[in-house]
Amino acid sequence: MKYMLLIYNNAATMAAMSEEERTAIFGAVDDIMGELTESGELVGGEALADPSNTKTVRVRDGVPATTDGPFAESKEQFAGYLMVECETPDRAVEIAARWPDASRWAMEVRPVMSADGLEM
């Protein structure tokens, strides 16, 4: 079963951290990524640029409108994701709990839909 682990954090708080704190976070991330790669559970993942680079696109009546933002500096924002394939949902939760952002902000664990299906 594939799960997407959505990483939420606050970029402003992250930026205000000390160099040591950030290094510790990156170290923890490297450790988990290494473990997931080695176990064959890692399917993919990306980190997103700072929320200030966000553009929102809406098409209404066939007309696209692009605006900058939203920037909610005080809020937790979607910052990146991991895609894993695990034997159990508990394992996906366990991975999320070890991700450093879970200790300060939050991780969401979402099962991924597949095209496969069984007739009923």
Partner: protein
């Protein structure tokens, strides 16, 4: 095209025999497996161009052995002078074969089975068992396996190499388990083959041919096992179950790829030769071997496949077979399926009563398939509002786009 296909079929059949021979000679499953993959690749490129060698098996052994020697040489060069002496001898002590062992055992046939036991060893994770079985026994390349399982090639390569490392570090011997362990380990092998089959069977048709090919591969490997263990009722039962299930594949989705429930399938599209073969196999097994879960599931599938319509189906017999299955291998999914059959015999309310036990049981309480069966039975019972809610709950719970589409469509019809 046909030439290349023939070469591919030949190679896939030879792959486990060649690997088995090498592992018995040299030990070092992981290194041998790499060498065999390289030899298979070389053959796949050369043979269609240059024609088959006089003895394909010997050709592969020679090429793979050369790769193995090259590998040991480069390793010993890398490791430096102090290790050279040790590295010149293939370090195969962990699975040391007796000299002349090849001749004594006589057949490469057993090697395929021994390899399957190794690849499905309980020390490996489920995902690794599946990946290693398809590569080492099925002779598939890592890229093909990755494509079939919809993961990046690097992920699949890692699963395979990890599995090989685990085999290496746990020094699992290259031999078939004996005594009581044989039955247990054979059960693990059959389970892996069934998982591979289901991966292919549930693949949405058309969109994903690579995944669908997994059913053919699972059936091919199960046939190989059966050829070596013809008296085993569960091996026969699994092959029959696969044949009888796969026979319905042409009718399980409509022209748009939407799922069609068993009761509404166009049975003229079922594959008759598979039904005949599967029925014959399970009938023979049931009369000659001790009863087992795969045989019972195959027997149930045979009853469905032989009925001209859902109404014509021998439902009382299916209820009895699920009852036996529940005693032999208790599982909430069995109860769920039995409830459907009970509803056909005694009416939807009787089926719903059977489901009540599952709701209390907890293991399946949140499962979308329980909600889906409840929805069907509620609809049959005329409780339209409750049926609609149950279909919606099932649609929310599933992680299958095809099932969600079906369930939402059912709910929409009850508006």
């Amino acid at each position: 095209m046909t030439g290349a296909t023939r070469v591919e079929d030949l190679l896939r059949g030879l792959a486990p025999q060649v690997l088995g021979t090498l592992v018995r000679r040299h030990g070092q499953f992981d290194a041998c497996e790499d060498a065999v993959q390289e030899a298979l690749l070389a053959a796949a490129l050369q043979w269609p161009q240059e024609g088959l060698p006089a003895n394909p098996h010997a050709w592969l052994i020679t090429v793979a052995s050369r790769r193995l020697t090259d590998q040991w040489r480069s390793e010993s060069a890398r490791r430096g002078r102090e290790d050279v002496a040790a590295a010149q001898e293939p370090p195969g002590a962990q699975v040391a074969p007796a000299p002349g062992d090849d001749a004594a055992r006589g057949d490469d046939e057993d090697d395929t089975l021994t390899l399957l036991f190794l690849c499905c060893h309980p020390a490996l994770s489920g995902a690794s068992q599946v990946a290693l079985t398809l590569r080492a026994v099925g002779g598939l390349g890592t890229a093909e396996i990755a494509r079939a399982f919809l993961v990046p090639e690097a992920t699949m390569a890692q699963r395979i190499s990890r599995a090989k490392q685990q085999i290496k570090s746990s020094t699992i011997p290259f031999e078939q388990p004996a005594g009581d362990e044989h039955g247990e380990r054979l059960g693990a092998v059959l389970h892996v083959l069934y998982v591979i089959f289901n991966e292919g069977y549930t693949a949405s048709s058309g969109a994903d041919l690579h995944r669908a090919d997994l059913t053919a591969e699972a059936m091919r490997l199960t046939r190989e096992v059966r050829r070596r263990l013809p008296a085993d009722g569960e091996v026969a039962g699994l092959l029959a179950l696969m044949l009888l299930t796969d026979a319905r594949r042409p009718a399980r989705t409509d022209a748009d790829g939407a799922l069609v429930p068993l009761a509404e399938q166009d049975r003229t599209r079922w594959h008759r030769p598979s039904i005949d073969e599967g029925t014959a196999i399970v009938t023979e097994a049931l009369s000659q071997a001790p009863l087992g879960p795969y045989q019972l599931q195959a027997a149930i599938a045979a009853i469905h496949d032989e009925a001209r319509s859902a109404q014509d189906t021998d439902w009382p017999q299916i209820v009895r077979l699920y009852g036996l299955l529940e005693r032999l291998a208790p599982n909430p999914m069995v109860t769920l399926n039995q409830a459907v059959a009970i509803a056909m015999v005694d009416g939807p309310r009787a089926g719903l009563a059977r489901l009540a036990a599952l709701q209390d049981d907890g293991r399946l309480a949140e499962h979308h398939r329980l909600a889906a069966v409840r929805a069907h039975l509620l609809e049959q019972a005329g409780d339209i509002a409750a049926a609609r809610d149950a279909y919606r709950a099932a649609a929310r719970g599933t992680t299958s786009l095809a099932e969600q589409r079906y369930l939402d469509a059912r709910a929409d019809r009850l508006r």
